[in-house]
C-alpha cells in the first residue's frame, strides 16, 4: 500500500514538474527592444524595404513571422482591434529570409493572405533578413508598435497572452487604449511578446534546421 501511494506521488510530482517546463515555454516572452520616444530616425540601411510612416494619422507596425504558428493569434487580435479603431494606418512587416529558395512560400503564406483579405487597405512590407526588425527593436514575431500622427511611440509590445493565445489580455487592452488616443499608456513598460524570434543569435542559427 505504501509503495502504491509512493509511486503515485512520484508520478504526480513528475507530471507537475514536466507541466511547469511545458508551460514555461509558452509563457516565456521573446526578446524586445526598449521603449523608444518615436519613429526611428537613424538611417534605414535596408535595401529592400521601405517602412514609411504616414504623417497624417497614427501608424501601427506589426512585425510578424509568416510561418510561426503564434502569428495566427497576433493577426486575429490585431485585426479585431484595428477594426474597432479605423483611423490608424496598418503596416504588416513580414519577415522573409535574405536568400529564401522558396520565396513564394514566405511571401504568400496563409497569414499574409489573411491580412490581405481582412484588411485590404493595410500595407504589407517584406522585411528581408529582419533588417527592419533590428532597426525598430522588434526582435520577436508578434511585436506591435504604434505611433501617433506626430511619430511618437504610443505602444510597444505583444497583444497575445501566450504563444498562440487568442484570449483577452492586458497587451491587447493597452493597445486599444493607445489607439483610442489615451496618453496614459505612453510611458508604460512594453507588454510581453510571445512568438518566434525574427533575428537568430549565432547559437540559434547553428542549432536550427534550414528552411
Amino acid at each position: 500500500m505504501t509503495t502504491q501511494w509512493l509511486s503515485g506521488i512520484v508520478w504526480g510530482a513528475t507530471c507537475l514538474a514536466m507541466s511547469y517546463v511545458m508551460m514555461s515555454y509558452d509563457f516565456k516572452p521573446g526578446r524586445l527592444g526598449p521603449r523608444r520616444a518615436g519613429w526611428p530616425t537613424e538611417t534605414d540601411y535596408s535595401y529592400s524595404t521601405a517602412l514609411i510612416r504616414n504623417p497624417n494619422k497614427p501608424t501601427v507596425v506589426a512585425f510578424v513571422h509568416p510561418r510561426c504558428v503564434c502569428t495566427r493569434a497576433t493577426i486575429a487580435q490585431l485585426l479585431r482591434t484595428v477594426e474597432t479603431h479605423p483611423g490608424a494606418e496598418l503596416i504588416a512587416a513580414v519577415f522573409v529570409p535574405l536568400a529564401a529558395k522558396d520565396r513564394q512560400v514566405w511571401e504568400e503564406s496563409a497569414y499574409v493572405k489573411t491580412i490581405r483579405a481582412a484588411a485590404p487597405e493595410a500595407r504589407i512590407v517584406f522585411d528581408r533578413g529582419g533588417v527592419q526588425a533590428w532597426r525598430f527593436g522588434a526582435l520577436t514575431s508578434g511585436t506591435i508598435l504604434a505611433y501617433d500622427a506626430q511619430g511618437r511611440e504610443i505602444f510597444r509590445g505583444g497583444i497575445t497572452d501566450r504563444r498562440g493565445g487568442e484570449r483577452d489580455n492586458p497587451g491587447v487592452q493597452r493597445f486599444a487604449v493607445a489607439l483610442a488616443g489615451d496618453d496614459s499608456s505612453v510611458q508604460a513598460d512594453p507588454t510581453p511578446v510571445f512568438g518566434c524570434p525574427l533575428v537568430a543569435t549565432t547559437t540559434e542559427a547553428t542549432a536550427g534546421a534550414d528552411p
Binding site: 503515485g8 508520478w11 511545458m22 501566450r162 498562440g164 537568430a200 540559434e204 542549432a207 534546421a209
Partner: protein, 277 residues
C-alpha cells in the same frame, strides 16, 4: 419482508454488478487515455508542427509535449488498469490522469475556451464509476491545476497578469456545480443498483418457490400415474383371467352339448325300457 439471508444475497449481487460496471469503465478509460494521447499528438502536429527562429525551424515544443508529457499522463493509469483493475486506487489515478490530459489538450490548443469543455466532459465520464469520491479527486486536480498555473502563469488561467485567488474559486465553483449534480446522479445510480439486486433476489426466491411447487406437483402426478398404471395392469390381469375362465367355460359348455347330443343318440338307440319289462 426481507430476511437477513435475502439481504445478504442482495448485497452480494449488488457488489458483483457494481464490480462489472467498474471493470467496464476501467476498460473504457484504457482506450480513452490512449485515444486522447494520440489525439493530442495529432492536434499538435496540425496546430503547431514547427517553431521558427528567423529562417530556421525545429519541431514545435507542443509536439514534444503531446508525445512525451501525454504519454507520462496516460502511462501510470494505463499500468494500473492492466495490473490492478477495479480497485479504488486505480480509478482515482485514472481521474488524475484524465484531468491532466484535459489540461494538456487545453495547452496544445493555445488555451482555447472551447477545449475547456473537455474538463466537464471528463468529469461526466468519471461519473460512470458511480463513485462520487472519484469526482472529488478529478475536481481537486482541476482546482490545483488552476491554483498552480494561476500562481506561476496567471495569464494562462485568468487572462490577467496578477489574479486574485477568488478567480480560482470562481472557476472551481463551475466545476463544483457539475460535480455536485454528478454526485447526486452517482448516489441515485447506487441506490438503483441496490434496488435491482433486491428485486433480483425476490425474483430468484419466487422462481425457486415456483420450481418447488412444480416439483411437488410432478411428484403427485408421477404417484397417480404409477397407481393408475398399477390399476391398469391389475385390470388387464383380471381380464386375462376371466378370458381364460370364459374359454374353459366355453369348452365345458361345448362338451356338455356334445354329451347331451351323445345322450340323445344313445336314448334313441335304446328301446323303451317299459315296453320290455
Amino acid at each position: 419482508m426481507t430476511t437477513p439471508a435475502a439481504a445478504g444475497r442482495a448485497e452480494a449481487i449488488f457488489h458483483v454488478d457494481l464490480d462489472k460496471i467498474i471493470h467496464r469503465t476501467d476498460r473504457m478509460f484504457f482506450w480513452l487515455l490512449i485515444g486522447q494521447w494520440l489525439f493530442g499528438i495529432a492536434i499538435a502536429l496540425i496546430w503547431s508542427p514547427r517553431t521558427w527562429i528567423a529562417q530556421y525551424w525545429s519541431v514545435h515544443q507542443h509536439v514534444l509535449v503531446a508525445v512525451f508529457l501525454g504519454a507520462l499522463f496516460a502511462a501510470y493509469p494505463l499500468y494500473l488498469i492492466v495490473r490492478r483493475p477495479g480497485t479504488p486506487y486505480t480509478r482515482h489515478m485514472i481521474a488524475v490522469g484524465q484531468m491532466l490530459q484535459s489540461a494538456l489538450l487545453v495547452h496544445v490548443t493555445g488555451g482555447r475556451i472551447e477545449t475547456h469543455f473537455h474538463v466537464f466532459g471528463s468529469l461526466a465520464l468519471l461519473a460512470f464509476y458511480r463513485d462520487w469520491t472519484v469526482l472529488i479527486t478529478g475536481s481537486a486536480v482541476v482546482y490545483l491545476d488552476h491554483l498552480a498555473l494561476g500562481a506561476w502563469f496567471p495569464l494562462s488561467v485568468y487572462g490577467v497578469p496578477v489574479a486574485s485567488m477568488w478567480r480560482s474559486v470562481e472557476h472551481a465553483f463551475w466545476v463544483a456545480f457539475e460535480a455536485i449534480f454528478l454526485t447526486m446522479s452517482c448516489r441515485t445510480g447506487i441506490r438503483e443498483l441496490r434496488a435491482i439486486a433486491g428485486r433480483e433476489v425476490r425474483l430468484q426466491d419466487a422462481s425457486e418457490a415456483l420450481e418447488e411447487a412444480n416439483r411437488t406437483l410432478e411428484a403427485h402426478v408421477d404417484e397417480r400415474t404409477q397407481a393408475l398404471r398399477h390399476a391398469k395392469d391389475t385390470l388387464e390381469d383380471k381380464i386375462k383371467e376371466l378370458e381364460l375362465l370364459n374359454s374353459v367355460m366355453m369348452d365345458r359348455e361345448e362338451r356338455i352339448i356334445e354329451l347331451k347330443e351323445a345322450l340323445k343318440v344313445l336314448q334313441a338307440k335304446i328301446p323303451n325300457s317299459t315296453d320290455n319289462g
